[in-house]
């Protein structure tokens, strides 16, 4: 059985069509990434898959179940980490976790909370009120709340957006561990390198249509994404030397170091390992657009 099957799903908000006939299949136990720019329709699709909203047309099956008729069964199997964190600021992290654990019917609440707190490095601030947390702490707590109760299918809506480079790599590691523990992970992202680094399969969504899907290698074939990486001024010399020693090509620009998608992650890892302070790391803005242009050009050729 497939973990997720989506057939001909459309979604209109009033007169505005947002999803325009989405088809996709997700295997059990894989990391599946929905890659797309802001406004492409990623959250809209995730909301439909997690029973929060209904498609205008088309069908969805989650582990063979129809979310419209078996909503609670679907919700028992899955868990959603929404794009915006959903925490109770007046309560402590531990209280937030315990609330969700009890709602999910977790047997040994303290043991499960402690386990997750260690895995996500929450222990030091678990007993502080959430309204005193930094953005990164909130994100991690929110993620822990979504992992309570051992769900089989985990939806992560842009989990790394706004997360600093160090924590981003830690999150990637955790997502891989989820897959290795047999979970199915449905991830959305705006970042090509993230999709590339994590996914077993990628679907590239543009303006409510899946324009390309396949393995990371297939998606990236024709893509010329670039990344910009900035380091603290004091570390510039070390950074240049480190990248040179690692044989990673880069182009210095006025904004920092420019790298290709393929070399972006190795470069970041090498710099962090060398103790360089990375102040900025991001895919260059126009890039998904160029991915899209490549993909559609390809499609146009295929149709000729």
């Amino acid at each position: 059985m497939k973990a997720i099957v989506v057939k001909g799903v459309t979604k209109d908000f009033g007169a505005l069509p947002v999803l325009k006939g989405v088809n996709l299949e997700v295997e059990q136990g894989e990391i599946f990434t929905l890659l797309g720019a802001n406004g492409a329709g990623k959250s809209t699709l995730i909301n439909i898959l997690t029973t929060l909203s209904q498609p205008t047309a088309g069908t969805v099956a989650i582990m063979g179940l129809d979310p419209r008729t078996a909503g609670n069964q679907v919700r028992r199997l899955m868990s959603l980490n929404a794009q915006a964190t959903t925490l109770d600021g007046e309560f402590t992290g531990a209280e937030n976790l315990s609330l969700i654990a009890r709602l999910r019917g977790v047997k040994d609440v303290p043991a499960e909370i402690n386990g997750l707190a260690q895995r996500l490095d929450l222990t030091s601030f678990l007993n502080r009120k959430v309204k005193t947390y930094s953005g990164g702490m909130r994100r991690r707590l929110d993620l822990a709340m979504s992992l309570l109760g051992n769900p089989q299918l985990i939806f992560l809506d842009e989990p790394t957006t706004g997360v600093d480079p160090q924590n981003r790599l830690a999150l990637w590691q955790m997502i891989r561990e989820l897959r290795d523990a047999g979970k199915t992970v449905f991830l959305t992202t705006q970042y090509l390198d993230e999709a590339d680094a994590l996914s077993d399969h990628i679907a590239f969504i543009h303006d409510g249509v899946i324009v390309k899907s396949g393995t990371p290698a297939a998606i990236k074939q024709r893509v010329t994404a670039t990344y910009t990486l900035q380091v603290a001024p004091a570390d510039e010399a070390v950074a240049t030397a480190t990248l040179g020693a690692a044989g990673i090509a880069f182009a210095p620009t006025e904004h920092g170091l420019s790298l290709t998608a393929k070399q972006a992650e190795p470069a970041l890892t090498a710099l962090l390992d060398a103790g360089v302070t990375v102040t900025h790391y991001d895919q260059d803005e126009t890039d998904l657009e160029s991915v899209f242009l490549n993909v559609t050009k390809e499609a146009a050729h295929a149709n000729l």
Partner: protein, 259 residues
């Protein structure tokens, strides 16, 4: 069983939020107590109620009104808590969990009515401490609690559409001023007979007056309340529960179940 535990967990969460939040306690408990003391000891002697006059006579007249006022103030927080849960995305998280749909707002309703009754009991206690003596039978006392539950449920259900539609926390509680205004311009704090004629017309025919009069009669056997008034009070309350319940349900379904 699971559903019952979830309802209890979620209701407990909201009541705890109310009890640990200084704003809530000040507005819903300290404010009515302050107003009660102010009206009884500063203005009471100057307000002509039926009977002897003076602070104690006023207390005896007005306490039931203050109890309903307390509950009305609570409705502002009902609305603000629901609004905060919506805007913070917490309702979305609940909707993504295996919880029966009715439990999600049901816990807010249950918590709201419970918290209102707790606040009412506290203000009643203050009333007793400053000399209020209820003159009740077992059945009239139970009927008073029943009336309070209906009143709390009615204004809670009235709060829900506002709480879901309001843009932010602050404006979500705004509708409760209408409730307070209705209570002020009713027989809650003083008899309507001394009011200017058009105001009195309004006061005598709006829902709060029969509700307050019925409450007053239930807490004090010496106050004669006509059956007509009592049925009118129940009619208004049941009507409000049905109409507001239906509206709340519709707004909720549109906003969360068929989006």
């Amino acid at each position: 069983m699971q559903t019952f535990n979830q309802l209890r967990t979620l209701t407990g969460r909201i009541i705890r939020q109310n009890l640990t939040n200084a704003d809530t306690i000040i507005t819903v408990i300290a404010m009515p107590v302050f107003m009660l003391l102010f009206f009884v000891y500063v203005m009471g002697g100057n307000i002509a109620t039926t009977g002897a006059g003076g602070a104690q006579a006023y207390l005896r007249y007005a306490l039931p009104g203050f109890l309903l006022l307390t509950m009305a103030m609570g409705s502002a927080y009902t609305s603000m808590r629901i609004n905060l849960d919506r805007t913070s995305g917490f309702l979305d998280r609940l909707h993504s969990l295996p919880i029966a749909r009715w439990v999600i707002l049901g816990s807010h309703v249950l918590a709201s009515v419970t918290f209102m009754l707790m606040a009412e009991a506290l203000v009643f206690l203050v009333g007793v401490l400053i000399g209020y003596r209820a003159d009740v039978t077992l059945s009239s006392a139970l009927l008073f609690v029943g009336l309070s539950v209906l009143f709390g449920l009615g204004i809670t259900l009235l709060a829900i559409p506002f709480s879901l539609k309001a843009d932010n926390y602050a404006s979500a509680g705004g509708f409760s001023y209408v409730l307070l205004m209705l209570l002020f311009v009713s027989s809650a704090l003083m008899p309507t007979t001394g009011m200017a004629k058009p105001v009195q017309m309004f006061a005598d025919h709006q829902p709060m007056t029969p509700i307050v009069n019925t409450a007053r009669g239930l807490l004090n056997q010496a106050v004669a309340v006509s059956q007509h008034t009592e049925w009118l009070a129940v009619g208004w309350l049941v009507g409000a529960i049905v109409v507001c319940g239906f509206l709340s349900y519709r707004v909720y379904v549109r906003m969360f179940l068929t989006r």
